[in-house]
Amino acid sequence: MTLPVFKPWDDPGPNFAGLLGHLDHRMVPLADAGSGMVAGGADRLPEIAHGTTVVASKYGNGVVIAGDRRATAGNLISHRNLTKVFPADKWSGVAIAGAAGPAVEMVKMFQLQLEHYEKVEGHPLSLEGKANQLSQMVRGHLPAAMQGFVVVPLFAGFDRRRGYGRLFAYDVTGGRYEEEDFVASGSGSLFARTVIKMGHRDSNTEDQAIDLMIQALFAAADEDSATGGPDSMRGIYPIVATITVDGYRELGESEIAGRFERLLDEFTEQHGGDRS
């Protein structure tokens, strides 16, 4: 791999995708290997893995973002421990719903773009700039989305210039919508959103906001077969992360397991000791 050097008028600047576009096989082996991937018609789509429910909510000056772990291909569970919530950089996170392969690739590209920008320019992008970058990536993915490989991310971050957490939702066209309170995306989002709507208060503490995400994902898993619930048998739990002035922090597995356990205990009590 050689050193990519450009003439000043031809320089891609801090744009990593632009850099990839400038290069050929000498720099990036297999650069075009996947280009024929979406040539087939929508009626001949193979069954591919889909990730499902992701949720996010604001509280105080922070944001909490969470997602279940299941991926489904048609009626089958294809992965039980898929990660759908990722740190985008130190002060932001991204969660994905939709076709798992392209979604994970999009996250990888997004993380790399933020890091690349930060290193080349010497300072990170603004939160607004990050949200717009993701919007452009989703828009660039539209041809594949039209063929069934839909990717819809959620983006949450701490705006260091303004001093509070912000939340963004997207649609397949790259439309970017800033959410004031909370948002849910994916197949189980209808149920998750209802739960969050009932429990969301502007005065919610971090602890309450996290529990609300846990309840929302539990409700989604309870009603939607494509959303995975807590799997204590295998020790697989949804991923929950908070983003505050201190940055992105993923909650430990034991903490999430504990919160689910308390939720289940409450249900059990309500049903007179019978969990069914």
Binding site: M1, T2, L3, P4, V5, F16, L19, L20, L23, M27, V28, P29, L30, K108, L112, E115, H116, K119, V120, G122
Partner: protein
Amino acid sequence: MNMPFYVAPEQLMKDRADFAQKGIARGRSLAAIEFDAGVLLCAENPSRNLRKISEIYDRIAFAGVGRYNEYDQLRIAGIRHADLKGYTYSRDDVDPQALANQYAQMLGQIFTHETKPLEVEILVASVGYRPDGDRMFHIRYDGSVSDEHGFAVLGGEAEAIRERLGRSYEDELSLSGGLKAAVAALAGDERTLGSGELEVAVLDRLDKGRCFRRLESGEIDGLL
């Protein structure tokens, strides 16, 4: 018909080397030193914005002295090289030696074939998971590379600074000890350097992801 004068290759190379050295000597120097928890890079640099030291990848840092626009272009090329390699293969496959070799090829090529050599000296430093995994590659304007151990010095007054740092350097220095040694060597006997004239960064061995961290002036003052 105009005939160009014959210039002996030895003379040509010497002229170019003199030219590059003169350019480098105009700027201030820089030292890098291995300490118990990583690699410390310390430059005499009164500018807060035109940086000599920067991050390349998870465990790799870059430092340059000489003409700013020239080493900055090399810095960006290095970031691109590393990010592309990490994207194409994996983050584990980005290594400082390949990058140093690429820099050497480029500087050597420009030195012999272009109208003007680059007036820069650069350092590619990387921190290992254990102290014996630390690497420092010093690359000069003509593309020559040297593999440095313990500490490295770049810039016009490198000889004198290297001698001073060689006297105070020892294995397993603390961060504070390493910084003091580097700053004293850069300053010499007649001057003292404060945090306002220093640019300092470390590659922290114990960090899991991106190990590069800049030290702010308050922290530098505290350590000194």
